[in-house]
Subunit: 277 residues, 2 copies
């Protein structure tokens, strides 16, 4: 392969920002884009997962990341990054790949990716999407909006992913947190690109911490995140529901379920994060 074999070229800002190139010395390189931050120059965990999954898919006989587990070792800043790959067993049904992303200061993200080929098969058992008002009745969560004295932080991520909050779970944005750590929102890439498994990895960590619904308005850095991609999403808006099961002792879990525009469950995730105090 030539040194600069670019694995993705596209008109989509998301595709460009997650592009990886094979490196001459082995492994891959990426140029992590500053626009995908969650404030303070820290890149979003889902964005980084999409970059790592691109590498795994490039190294696998299978096209779709179906299970992705990541440890967030350190905060990852924008800029050049290297991605080291350790291939695992690869078979007819699935393949395993380990990817370690490193910046100038060393490893920041360690990811295990299982790739497979998702079929269009109808589910034997599934979970229906929750009842949410139509997109046009939901609330935009654009930077600068007032959240009851807590203005939405000017984070790049909110410009990259269009987010429309279910009013029933957006009390925190209006100064009246619901007291239940649940958020629901329609999501789509702002660049107009339709969702795919890589976009689902981004969506699986895209909402503000559900602890905001408890009035705990600080940030909640991800420690470990697992995402399962269950089906290829149909074009259009996805609907995500994030929920914390327990907030205790300085820790918070966040569990996402994501449905596509046809109401099919397409992804699930769970993360352990540090809870805001």
């Amino acid at each position: 392969m030539p040194q600069d074999d670019q694995l993705t070229t596209a008109d989509s800002e998301f595709d460009r920002a997650t592009t990886v190139h094979r490196a001459e010395a082995g492994g891959y390189v990426a140029d992590l884009q500053p626009g995908w931050d969650v404030g303070s120059g820290i890149l979003n965990g889902g964005y980084l997962l999409a970059v790592a999954a691109r590498v795994a898919v490039a190294d696998s006989p299978h096209p779709h990341p179906v299970a992705v587990s990541a440890s967030y070792l350190r905060a990852t800043p924008p800029g050049p990054a290297t991605l080291a790959v350790t291939p695992g067993p690869a078979g007819r049904t699935l393949a395993h790949t380990a990817v370690v992303l490193s910046g100038a200061e060393g490893p920041t993200l360690s990811v295990q990716v299982t790739t497979a080929t998702l079929s269009g098969e109808a589910p034997v058992h599934s979970s229906p999407a929750p009842e949410v008002p139509p997109v046009e009745e939901c609330l935009g969560a654009q930077p600068g909006a007032d959240m009851g004295g807590h203005p939405v932080p000017a984070v790049g991520l909110r410009h990259r992913v269009e987010t429309r909050l279910d009013p029933a779970t957006a009390g925190w944005a209006l100064g009246t947190p619901s007291g239940e750590p649940v958020m629901r929102a329609y999501l789509r890439l702002a660049d107009g690109r339709d969702p795919d498994p890589l976009a689902l990895l981004l969506f699986a960590d895209v909402l503000p911490p559900t602890s905001w619904s408890m009035g705990l308005m600080g940030w909640a850095p991800t420690v470990q995140l697992q995402v399962l991609v269950r089906a290829l999403p149909a074009p259009g808006w996805c609907l995500a529901e994030a929920r914390a099961t327990e907030i205790a002792g300085g820790w918070l879990d966040e569990e996402y379920r994501i449905w596509d525009s046809t109401g099919r469950l397409v992804a699930q995730s769970r993360q352990l994060a540090r809870a805001p105090r």
Copy 2:
């Protein structure tokens, strides 16, 4: 450290079976015990996770595994195993460790462990345990019991972990699968040892596949599993609820929540497995 520095000695069969020793050449060794199998000489995924977490804890300044993500690369047979450790960042709050378990045929399990020090702090938000009849009204799932023409396989694991099924979710054992992929059971170590975070890792993958409640009676090998340990469990029985969100295209997810004898949520897990056809 001397070559045979044994990190655990105990009267508990579980502690003995998960004992690890530092190896002279670096890393650790374990002697994986055949009694912790799920049939066909294949060891249980939760048992292997407990062995790997012991290594991570031994290498960490923190005593408790709080987040554990594992890729099951190949089936792991009983016998001698080596555990290679790659330490990650370690701080006052948490530490990251990567552990790869290998048998005679090469790596079989790749695990990322986050260790921390769990406090006894009361939850800010939690999820109550489901209503289940008392232990004495639940059904023992001992090997040899009849499950409506499907005798309980003679798996070692059922002798190691006492399992009392909620009758409401045990229809599959009586020949009348409920049609809902949910199982609830009380669990405790058969050796009488009280639960701790390592036992919770075992419990997080200990029930039969929830697809059995759909009448799909085959095995469901784990592909990736993430376990979060949320609190130190009180002595006595734990209560586990396992639930599949979606069964589709040859894949199954299993989500566990585990409460201790005081009703406190102490662990959560999610795995992606191959679904029985």
